[in-house]
Symmetry: C2
Subunit: 192 residues, 2 copies
Amino acid sequence: MSVQERKQRERAERERLIVATARELAEQQGWDAVTTRRLAERIEYSQPVLYSHFRGKREIIGAVALKGAAELAVAVRAATSAANGPRERVAALARAYLDFAARNPAVYDALFQLDGGLAYAQEDTPQPLKDAFAALLECLGEVAGDGVQPGLFTEVFWASLHGLVTLTRAGRLLPEDAAQRVELLVDRLAVM
Amino acid sequence: MSVQERKQRERAERERLIVATARELAEQQGWDAVTTRRLAERIEYSQPVLYSHFRGKREIIGAVALKGAAELAVAVRAATSAANGPRERVAALARAYLDFAARNPAVYDALFQLDGGLAYAQEDTPQPLKDAFAALLECLGEVAGDGVQPGLFTEVFWASLHGLVTLTRAGRLLPEDAAQRVELLVDRLAVM
DNA sequence: CACGAATCCTAGCACCGCTAGACAATCAAG
DNA sequence: CTTGATTGTCTAGCGGTGCTAGGATTCGTG
C-alpha cells in the first residue's frame, strides 16, 4: 500500500510542478511562450506526460487560474479585514484587486482573459472561483445601497475593476493615475 | 497613368475584401477560425497575397479593429445625439456601447481583446481610435462632476462598460439583468 | 512581337497541440 | 529467481499554424 501512496504523492507533486512551471513561464515570457514542448522540457519530462495529468493546454491554464483565484480571494480578504469602516474597506478591496492583477498578469489572464475551460456562474463552477466572488460579495454587499441586490452591485463593481485592469494592461490608462481612478470609483459607486 | 490608377484601385478593393472577409469569418466562427489559409481561400487568392497587403495576421486584426472603432464612434454619436438631457444621453451611450459589443463580438475582440498591434493612448495612436475615445468624451465630459477631470472620468466609465462586456461575454453575467446594471452604473457614476 | 517588370503561386520552413505505438521499468504470481 | 502482465515513459509523427523564398506567369511597354 505504501508504494501506491508514494507514487500517488509523486504524481501529485509533479502535477503541482507542471502548474507552477506553466505559471512561471507565463509570467516570465507571456502565455504565448507556454508551449507544451517548452513546458515539458522545463519539467524535464516528455510532452505526453503533460497529457497524463491534463486533457490539454487549456486545462493547464485552468489549473493556473484556479490557483490564482484562491490567492486572489486571500489577498482581498486580507486587505478588507485590515481596513476600518466601509469606505476604507471598499477602497482597500479595490486596491488589492488591482494590485493582484498588476503583480500577476499571467495569472489574471488565465482567470479572465484566456480560455481555461472553466465554467463561471453555474452550479458546476469550481469552488475557488465561487469563493473569490464570495470574497468580493462579503465586502461589497454592505455598500450596495437600498433596493440594490448585493450580487448585482458586486458584479458591476467587479466589472469596473476588471475594465480598469484590462485597459491599464493594454497601455490605455497610465498607471500613475490609478489611485485617482480607484478613489473616483469607490466614491461614486459605493453607498456609505 | 490610368493603368496604374486602375491597379491601385483594384489593390485597395482587394484589401477591403481581405478585411471584410476576415471580419465576416471571425463573426461567423470566431477568430480562431481565421487562419491565413482559410482567409486566402475565401478571397480566392493564395496565402502570400495577404502578406503583400499586411505584415501578418496581427495587422489584419488591427485593420478590422480600426474599422470597428470608426463604426463604434458613429454608433455612440448617433445614440447620444438622439437623446434628451444629460442623464438620458449617458444612458443611451452606455446602451449603444454594450449593444455594439453584443452585435459585433469579433470586432470588439479585435479592438480590445486581441493583439492587433495598435498603439493606444499615444501620439501615434491611429485616428479612429482617438476619435472613438473622443466620442465617449464628448458625452461623458459633461457629467464628470466638479473637480474631476473629464478624461479621467471617461476612462473610468469606459472601463466599467468594458468590464461589463467582458464578463457578460464570458458567461459571467446574465444578459437578462443588463438593463439593470446599466441603470445602476449611470445613476451612480454620472453627476447630473 | 519581344522584352522587362510587376504579380502571383507552389512548395517548404519551423513551430504548434496532440497522440499512437514502441519500449523500459515495476510489480505480482508461480 | 523467473516469468508475465501492468504501468509508466518516450520517440516519432499527424495535421494544423504563421510566414517566406524563389520560380512561374501575366502584364504593360517599347
